[in-house]
Amino acid sequence: MSIDRTIGDALRRAAESPFGLRFIEHDGRMVVVTYRELLAQACVVGGALRAAGYQPGDRVALVVPEVSAFVTAFFGIIAAGLVPVPLCPPAQAGDVATFTRQSTHIIDASRAVAVLTTADVEPLLTTASGSVSPKFHRLDTLLATNTPLAEPTPLPLDAVALLQFTSGSTALPKGVVLSHGNISANVRAILGPSGLDAREGDVAVSWLPLYHDMGLIGMLLSSLYAPADAVLMSPVLFLKRPSAWLDAISTYGGTVSFAPNFAYELCRRRVKSSQLAALDLSRWRVAGCGAEPIRPDTLMQFAEYFAPAGFAASSFLPSYGLAEHALAVTFAHGGLQVDVVDAERLVRESVAMPVAEGGTPVRVVRCGTTFPEHELRIVDEAFATLPERHVGAIVARGPSVMQGYFEQPDATAATLHDGWLLTGDLGYLADGALYVCGRSKDLIIRQGRKYHPPDLEASLADLQGVAISGVVVFGVDRLESADEVVAVVETRAGGRGAEVEDAIRRRVRETAGLEIDRVVLTAPGTIPRTTSGKVRRSETRDRLEAGTLVR
């Protein structure tokens, strides 16, 4: 069976099946829709967008907090042959400025002709000043129109399907351009025998945000292409009550569900043991884990805690992926498997070798192998392939690799070499399987969100008492526990330590919503710099770790 088709075609095909989607909104309210009904709604919304004059290929930003409405709006844009640009909706409590700033950036950078949103959210965006002036449309208004398309606009497979903006960066969000061919290739890989091995009766259950790749492509679009039933829950509901995720798996017989490491941790911490008796997790055959570093302890503790509810540890499926590869790069079958290696040699020599006598062991999670038609290599700085158990840059090639970053030729050229995608992550191969053991050194990942140190540093530059370009922020990889976020700050004479430290923590919380774990105050001239005066981030980190930073 070939599933090489556009998203619009996949929706048309799914509409002939008896399957559909069940949404569970943030307040527990349910909305049930068959793919047939969804196709009809999408054609109404799509018809209204075409009637408004937009042409295939135009970008439409999508900011819709409720899951059912988001999905209707998404497929409406797709049916019109337009390119959805999904955005993160406003967070609860006090994050409006960040929301407005990031959304305006993305609307701007994608040169969206329109913003499809709701009555609640629209005022938060129209007040923002951007260099473009897209038209705003509300979903309910579009749904009330009467100019439906007969069917989704036919498009070639190489047409742009989606602009997926990489999360977290406050300064320069980059739009990952994916074609319909990229998405269907990745979905085919995910559903195939080296992926989920999709089968009759599968039910996907997900709380993952639909404005990110793992929720959108991994859960929603995979279910559509299969086609299969899916239960899509509001991420807000999950974060308020993590038990709601497991309740849904139990109630609706969920067989496939993915989540980042922190979600498994949250469940173990916040689902009470008294709730276990009511849960039946025995049908959950694929418990995927990805999107952030996987901690073996988290998964083992989850398996132990939920075993009485029928959860089988063999269901774990560690995975590795990134938006630039549509989503999935590798899947690991056979449950959680770890490689125990010598921590010292891993850090100092970049080799993953058995731990020596008296050495410190570190466990690295097996992330599995890549899919048919896809290739994976570990390379050194000269792009030469490294032998097994040597840590290097993870690069991938194949039909899932993005077209590039939207209108960013320099960033695209720096990321795509000869069809190979430079993932920015570090890892090694052992027995052909990928082990991810580091990442782009400058990226901080917390709870699935990515933070770029240059943005954080820029946000601190004007603080009272901070020396000029005297801030370095980095994450210290603690390998088996959560990363530590450290700020090294040179203070001017007269700057009072406690006040400066407090101001730094406060500013980073306000602008990025990130908690700095450790602030190191030093004298001007302590931070190593290049001859042109740029801070050397990794050298600062290494010296701090080695205890040679402060003289």
Binding site: G94, D95, V236, L239
Partner: protein, 89 residues
């Protein structure tokens, strides 16, 4: 917490904040959840879930979008509890 003019809503809200925080905090109505008390977006949702359970209310999406301080949260909870015919109203 020792504020004699604090009502049940303020008192209980502050209790929940102290319980959920990962470090010792002393919330007062003027303090901001993120900037002063160090709550991240994840903890804020956990907090909203606890408020919903404790006061038997349902916090609408986006109703807290502009809320920054503990006092503003308490006002919002008071309003929602008054509108809800639940046992704690």
């Amino acid at each position: 917490m020792a504020n004699p003019t604090a009502d049940r809503f303020e008192h209980d809200t502050i209790d929940i904040l102290v319980r959920l925080s990962r470090r010792p905090i002393e919330p007062t109505p003027e303090k901001e959840l993120m900037a002063d008390l160090g709550f991240d977006s994840l903890q804020i949702l956990e907090f909203v879930g606890e408020l919903e359970d404790h006061f038997n209310i349902s916090v609408p999406l986006n109703s807290l979008t502009h809320v920054r301080t503990v006092g503003q949260i308490v006002d919002e909870v008071r309003k929602l509890a008054a509108a809800e015919p639940g046992p704690s109203a």
